[in-house]
Symmetry: C2
Subunit: 294 residues, 2 copies
């Protein structure tokens, strides 16, 4: 690149998300829309040049309007379209609301309990990311501002069909969402045959967190019941992100997919990323990632 471009990137016109050795930078447009130092973290909303508005937490990219569908569709529809009888859902995190927007597309769901620790994220999203937060007032949703770790500690046994862990990276308030004791509680709260999907980090940008979490999940759910899958998220560093599907002795995420129903669902809801082929393809892992978690 040319020197003038480099100088622009060095200015405050860009948000940069770095692990010290690799970084992505997204160019900002206009004034910052939201900024608050909450008790937990710094929450900001910016406008960008061609990825729409962007939510950051401690300057780490959480989502952009142009790209959020990949993450939210894949964390919600992969478990839902293999487990169509899910009625009771617990969601930890997910403050921007994108996961809830996708879940409420499934008429079979009767209740969603969402536990987000930081009300500033919810408030920022409701005000400045209306297309993402659109279901945060949905009648099936019970939104609690609370600590998800304590919530699952106190939750009853066998009471959810699906639990989604839609966390930020394992620093700050999300750190406890990457521990064995947390997942032991999650397992306990799940009904037999129940399912969990987890934001499980980038195999490259956060290799240690990715590998450690995979091992932890296998210890809790059993090797045969843990299935890592990959999603392209261009505005996350390295663009390669993982989610993990775990079951309490329940449905297999590929064998139990109802192709026809999935195809119908995609058309009906005009999904942007998910489709039945992508659902199955996402579980194919490159050799070097298989090796990391073998």
């Amino acid at each position: 690149m040319h020197l003038e471009q480099l100088e622009k990137i060095n200015s405050t016109e860009w948000v940069t998300d770095s692990n010290g050795n690799f970084a992505i930078s997204i160019r900002l447009k206009g004034e910052r829309l939201f900024h608050e130092v909450s008790p937990f973290q710094t929450v900001e909303v910016f406008d960008t040049y061609n990825r729409g508005r962007m939510l950051t937490i401690d300057r780490m990219v959480m989502c952009t309007e142009a790209d959020e569908a990949a993450y939210h569709e894949m964390i919600a529809h992969v478990p839902m379209l293999t487990n169509p009888s899910v009625k009771d859902v617990l969601v930890i995190g997910a403050g921007d609301g994108g996961t809830i927007r996708e879940l409420v597309r499934h008429d079979g769901i009767e209740r969603i309990t969402m536990v987000e620790i930081d009300e500033a994220v919810v408030r920022a999203s409701k005000e400045f990311l209306p297309t993402i937060s659109s279901a945060l007032e949905h009648p099936k949703l019970n939104l609690l501002i609370d600590d998800g770790i304590k919530f699952v500690q106190n939750a009853d046994n066998n009471c959810y069909d699906l639990i989604i862990i839609d966390s930020s990276d394992p620093v700050g308030p999300s750190e406890g969402l990457f521990t064995k004791s947390f997942y032991q509680d999650v397992y306990r709260c799940l009904r037999p045959g129940g399912v969990v999907t987890v934001q499980s980090e980038s195999p490259i940008f956060h290799q240690k967190a990715f590998v450690d979490l995979n091992q932890c999940l296998k210890q809790v759910f059993g090797v045969e019941c843990v299935h890592c899958y990959l999603v392209f998220i261009p505005m996350y560093p390295t663009g390669m992100w993982s989610l993990t599907y775990c079951s309490k002795g329940g449905a297999h995420p590929i064998d139990n997919l109802d192709n026809e129903k999935a195809t119908q669902f995609v058309k009906q809801h005009n999904l942007r990323y998910y489709n039945a082929d992508i659902h199955k393809a996402a579980f194919a892992l490159p050799g070097f990632i298989q090796e990391m978690i073998s």
Copy 2:
């Protein structure tokens, strides 16, 4: 990120690859290993903090040692494992040698003609990227330093079983590799039933180039014979890169895959990214990309 980190990224310790709105930055280690302003472009080799050595052209990332396998395995083995009888191969570009290293794993190949316009790329790679350039002295290889566009203009009809277009981005000397007249020549040089794989850019970082090239290929090869596939390349901007498989009325890239042979091949060569599941999965496209090229 913290201010100190931002200041480091702003220094010359990082290589930044940007399209003006989005950028990736890779931290450099030690002194620059190679730097030459050739008649075509600026060719450089750096060391990085955890992606190994890196080749850049005009400061755009061409490959890193840690990540190059994804690109090179996918551009070579997807066509080869669906077309095992390939004997004569033409490669345009590919100066670093990674594509050749992958091709020569296939014993059935009898001759590879490689046409690279810039000998500085070959020289840099031979000296500083030995694990990538390792097959550039292979007895089956005829390496020509020449203009690939003129080469295919002058090539005989129906003389190659496989042509690989392993180009850099459509600026500078690679620009002519993104035109209809070039692909008409490529088509003419192919034997009936022959196959082409093409570096076809990022659907997000270079959306226009990606869409235009797809349309061009469909005009030349016919809609039914053009198949886009995706590869995770973490050190390319957005991490989501496309390759395109085209045939002159030949094998389908999924239906004609010999699963067993592919699995055997992966084991034998200890591949890092490619496997039979990834081969098939790569052709599953997210809805928004299907829409871009429909």
